[in-house]
Symmetry: C2
Amino acid sequence: MGHLNPSIMDIKIGSRTWPPQASEDYIAKCLKRDRESTSVPLGFRISGFQIYRTKETGFWKPDRQFFLSFSADDVRLALRKFVSSNGSAGSDPDCAFASVVYGGSTGILAQLLELKAWFEDQTIFHFYSCSVLMTFEKELALEGRSSGAEIKLVDFAHVVEGGGVIDHNFLGGLCSLIKFISEILTTPDECYPPKACLQASEKSHFCSDDGINK
Amino acid sequence: MGHLNPSIMDIKIGSRTWPPQASEDYIAKCLKRDRESTSVPLGFRISGFQIYRTKETGFWKPDRQFFLSFSADDVRLALRKFVSSNGSAGSDPDCAFASVVYGGSTGILAQLLELKAWFEDQTIFHFYSCSVLMTFEKELALEGRSSGAEIKLVDFAHVVEGGGVIDHNFLGGLCSLIKFISEILTTPDECYPPKACLQASEKSHFCSDDGINK
């Protein structure tokens, strides 16, 4: 059985989205975006998500604009909402699916740690502006079945040769994401003040259908 | 017994030496230097070293200018020369002290891995433009005693609050350095073509006494 109503989050990894060999114009454009987003402070940025709510209300799928002003706390909150049964409501996220989606021996954290081990060693490729997609099926999780939690590496438009050096830029950002997800698993009940931007957007972007924005 | 004739290498960690909060002028200055050095490609740069040779010939201690044009291969070669008995000669470095300085349960690699584990977890401080100093005593190593290999974190002029986020910039660069040192331990006999810049400088900087340049 495939993914029917996948919740998906697109996370662009790395504090620097430009390859050293890029043109000055391209570097200036990327650097501006990296500094204005959470890429520079956090080492990654959420560039899109769709979170499945219910059969009646469908997906919460904000457009691209929504993510541009994300702060570190917005990122924390979004990563919690992603695995909450009440992710769509104005209330604090309950992180009901954190342990089945992020946790466990086959969950997203375990998969991210496997990816990390690969990046600590491989020196063939450097991935700029590349994303980790996190997906799972809320309906399966609700039925008590495997949530199908999975990560995928996507967007290979700016992959360059590693030249015998590890991709320290991707690895650093990946470690930062791992830390954020670990913290949700160790303190699932921790509350963050609901952010105005996240709350407001949920109303205006209810069930949009323009795909995950990048 | 203290360090009498320590060989020392100063390695500035992180592909980005500027804090996000810095002024535009400071960022532009640092970014230029980061891009022109190995900081951006490798995630770290060697900013100085003194390598002890013999009682007669003293230290090899190039001035600051020497390190500005370092390539990835220059860095590889310097990390090998640092632990070679013939580090000062024009010949290929023999890496005679690699296993006692870099290797072992208390060697530099083990200490770097301990530092890495700390950086994977701590979210209190971000270290910009901070260096790892690697030191050891060649004379002790020659006598078959403990080489006193040690790392130290120095240069805290640009330490800022971490705000609950790991220092992915430092961590990425540290992992890259760890990979370089691991490779020396696994392939100590590998030869790199002597680099013109390293060879020429040894002559001109013979036994200079202006301290490790930063």
